[in-house]
């Protein structure tokens, strides 16, 4: 009797397991989906954050895009050059054109001390909210609103709101995904290669007179940097000096001549803040 129960139990469970296993095997055969093994290989290599920085909905669609030839092998801005090289190897290409890692910069130095506020904003704690409410609480219509939309959206925790009311980006954590660039309602966040040391920290297309009223570190459009740059990397966009990072060779001449201290090197900017 005892052995009977034991036997029944083992046989029943074994039978059930076998039936389901057979069913699943048949189903897997019948409903097999042909996938390119390279898609899985590429997905394995990718960071897997599904951040969407490449323009695809996620890492899987990126991998499918690469295999289909719609997306370049170095299209993942988050993965390092190493990732691009590995994907290139999977795709059978020998040499991947590597791209310099980009990091984000807020082109504004108008912190609480430097820039004038024209009103007190006490609404939804978001730059977009302030911007929607009569065009923002800063007197400068191009200045950083300091409510941290870029900090909130950063998927990698690279952005921190400084005590002075300007966001700071950790160059080690920033992957250059560009989410903050899109999130900023004033479009003053930009991406630049990590090797670029000097930046024009102003986005205001205002005249010198207007700028002086609202900010003590804004670009007044004196064009000294344009003349000083040996690479001719700086040009005027109306009354604002703009850096062409492709041409910049880090000579640092612009930093020396800027009368408003608008142009700073990254290290110097950190010093000024401290």
């Amino acid at each position: 009797m005892q052995t009977d129960i034991f036997l029944y139990a083992v046989l029943t469970m074994g039978f059930l397991g076998a039936v389901f296993a057979a069913g699943l095997t048949i189903a897997a055969r019948v409903f097999a989906v042909d996938t390119d093994p390279r898609v899985d290989d590429i997905e394995e290599v990718l960071p897997g954050a599904n951040c969407g920085a490449c323009g695809e909905p996620g890492c899987q669609s990126f991998a499918e895009g690469v295999v289909a030839g719609k997306v370049p092998v170095n299209g993942c801005p988050v993965g390092s050059a190493d990732v691009a090289a590995q994907i290139a190897r999977i795709m059978g290409q020998t040499e991947a054109a590597t791209r310099e890692r980009q990091i984000a910069h807020v082109l504004c130095r108008g912190n609480r001390e430097n820039a004038v506020a024209r009103s007190v904003y006490d609404g939804i704690p978001s730059c977009a909210g302030s911007q929607a409410l009569g065009g923002g609480h800063k007197a400068c219509p191009y200045g950083c609103l300091g409510l941290g939309d870029c900090v909130d959206i950063c998927p990698f925790g690279a952005a921190v709101m400084g005590e002075d009311g300007l966001p700071q980006f950790d160059p080690d954590k920033c992957t250059g995904c560009g989410k903050c660039v899109e999130a900023c309602p004033r479009n003053i966040v930009t991406l630049a290669g990590i090797s670029k040391k000097h930046h024009i920290y102003c986005s205001a297309k205002l005249s010198a007179k207007e700028i002086r009223k609202v900010c003590s570190v804004g670009c007044i459009g004196c064009q000294r940097c344009v003349k000083a740059c040996p690479e001719e990397a700086i040009s005027m966009d109306g009354r604002l000096a703009v850096m062409d990072y492709e041409k910049c060779k880090n000579s640092g001449e612009c930093v020396e001549v800027c009368p408003m201290n608008t142009i700073q090197s990254m290290e110097q900017k950190e010093l000024v803040k401290k």
């Binding site: 129960i5 029944y8 139990a9 029943t12 469970m13 059930l16 397991g17 389901f20 069913g23 699943l24 189903a27 897997a28 409903f31 097999a32 989906v33 939804i124 704690p125």
Partner: protein, 193 residues
């Protein structure tokens, strides 16, 4: 017929799987951030629940009971549910890649969902026949969908509100879940004994 209606309404509202029996809390809190995904999850759970109820009914009545092996209920039902979810996954992947992508991680999640296991174990305990079991499973699925979609709607609203830092995320979700469970207790008197 009246009996079936009673079972259905009773499972959806009075003995709601999530809010009265506290089964399936994990997806209820985890997948209730957006109404769309919450609804897909609800549909997937309803489907697997109904399938599982049918298969486990046969196993219980024509295999376990005749052989006197009722104590193997839990093990064999787990086997059924896991295989069923696998089957659904394979099937969906072939037939509707869009739906497969939309459900994504939820499908494997259903495998380890206690609501489905609970359902399979409750059916023999309640002594339902085959039709009653299916209606019961459907009711449980619809009840789950109702609870999770309601929750997702509330959470979408909350995204916009200015909340104290300490309450954000999980904390307020648990408070809302508690309030919803209490509100559903009001249904207890609707369907009499």
């Amino acid at each position: 017929m009246e009996n079936l209606l009673l079972i259905f309404a009773g499972t959806v509202l009075v003995n709601n799987f999530v809010l009265a029996q506290f089964l399936g809390i994990c997806p209820y809190l985890g997948v209730s951030r957006q109404v769309d995904t919450a609804f897909s999850m609800g549909m997937a759970v309803t489907f697997v629940m109904t399938m599982a109820a049918m298969v486990t009914f046969f196993i219980q009545n024509y295999l376990l009971i005749p052989l006197g092996l009722e104590y193997l209920q839990t093990v064999s039902f787990i086997l059924v549910i896991a295989s069923l979810v696998q089957l659904v996954e394979i099937f969906l992947r072939k037939v509707s890649p869009v739906l497969y992508r939309a459900l994504g991680i939820f499908l494997p999640l259903i495998t380890t969902n206690c609501a489905i296991m609970g359902l399979a174990l409750l059916i023999p305990r309640e002594g339902y026949n085959f039709i009653e079991a299916i209606v019961f499973a459907l009711g449980a699925g619809v009840g789950f969908t109702l609870a999770i979609v309601l929750m997702a709607g509330l959470r979408e609203q909350l995204e916009m509100s200015d909340m104290p830092q300490a309450l954000r995320g999980g904390a307020i979700t648990l408070i809302m879940a508690g309030l919803m469970a209490m509100a559903f207790m009001g249904f207890a008197g609707v369907i009499g004994t």
